[in-house]
């Protein structure tokens, strides 16, 4: 019979796996159903709803597994692991995750909406930096103003969706109840 600690660990692993699968599916659905926005690196970021949710309910470690794991899972499925598309996704995901973890560690000063807006901006900035490295030119950075501007409403949409999700999943919203 499992001890309470083992059971808790098993539940955590299972929850992480479910969130990772959900993020991967949402990311895939977005690429198939929603047309890409006409600015490189800019997406609605449906998968980030799950990352924000994971960060609010389980903390940075699980959020990191979900965010970076999703990039690897999608790249493995698409056969683009190690390629330019993978590097763009990884750059955006790492930048967004880092910024959101910093804001989350600041306590109640920032809500999930703030995390999401900052994460969205960091994501586009990270992707444009990787794109600049890929084309060996600073030209992609010319898209920074419009990308950052558009990342605000997209970040709001993701943040509100995450907050709604957190409020509708009461058993998991322990630490995020007030957010």
């Amino acid at each position: 019979m499992l001890s309470p600690a083992d059971r808790s660990a098993a539940q955590r692993i299972a929850s992480t796996a479910v969130l990772l699968a959900l993020a991967a599916v949402l990311g895939y659905l977005e690429s198939v159903v929603l047309p890409p926005l006409p600015v490189p690196g800019l997406r609605v970021g449906l998968a980030n709803i799950v990352v924000v949710f994971a960060l609010a309910t389980y903390g940075p470690r699980v959020a990191g597994i979900v965010s970076i794991g999703r990039v690897f899972v999608v790249a493995l499925a698409a056969g683009t692991l190690g390629g330019p598309s993978f590097l763009l996704s990884l750059g955006g995901a790492l930048a967004a995750l880092a910024v959101m973890i910093v804001l989350a560690s600041a306590g109640p000063l920032f809500s999930v909406i703030g995390w999401s807006v900052a994460g969205s901006a960091a994501h586009v900035a990270g992707q444009l930096l990787v794109a600049a490295a890929l084309v060996t030119s600073a030209a992609p950075l010319a898209l920074l103003p419009v990308s950052l501007g558009l990342s605000i409403p997209l970040g709001f949409a993701v943040g509100y969706s995450a907050r709604l999700l957190i409020s509708r999943v009461p058993d998991l919203s322990l630490s995020a109840a007030g957010r």
């Binding site: 600015v39 490189p40 763009l88 703030g114 901006a121 890929l134 084309v135 992609p140 010319a142 103003p145």
Partner: protein, 119 residues
């Protein structure tokens, strides 16, 4: 929204506004020429003469078309086809195919030649 969230939004808006002049300086104003850049180097093309240019990228070819002073990507070997959807390059708005490492920006004068471009 918390006060911190408002600060985040203000910071992103400020970054967008502050990056605008820098971003504009990265891309030269329209001078009737465009620079096509690929993994093998770059070349300058005259936008006053219509033509079709193929740049070899990392994952395949990117086809540019010059017509009526504008340059667009007509086809590319990349998954999302963002570069095709971006429309014509404009001052301050380059056309980029990041997966292929290929871009087109406005330029003021002729530059070096690129072996990987075929016309």
């Amino acid at each position: 929204m918390t006060r911190g969230d408002t600060l985040v939004v203000v910071a992103v808006v400020a970054l967008a506004l502050l990056s605008a002049p820098t971003a504009g300086a990265l891309v030269a104003p329209a001078g009737g020429m465009a620079v096509l850049r690929g993994p093998a180097g770059s070349t300058t093309v005259d936008l006053s003469s219509p033509g079709r240019y193929i740049v070899s990228g990392r994952t395949g070819d990117v086809v540019f078309e010059v017509d009526e002073g504008a340059i667009t990507v007509t086809s590319a070997d990349c998954p999302d086809q963002l570069c095709v959807r971006m429309g014509a390059a404009a001052p301050g708005r380059p056309v980029i195919c990041a997966p292929n490492g290929v871009s087109a920006t406005f330029a003021n004068g002729p530059g070096e030649s690129l072996d990987a471009v075929s016309r």
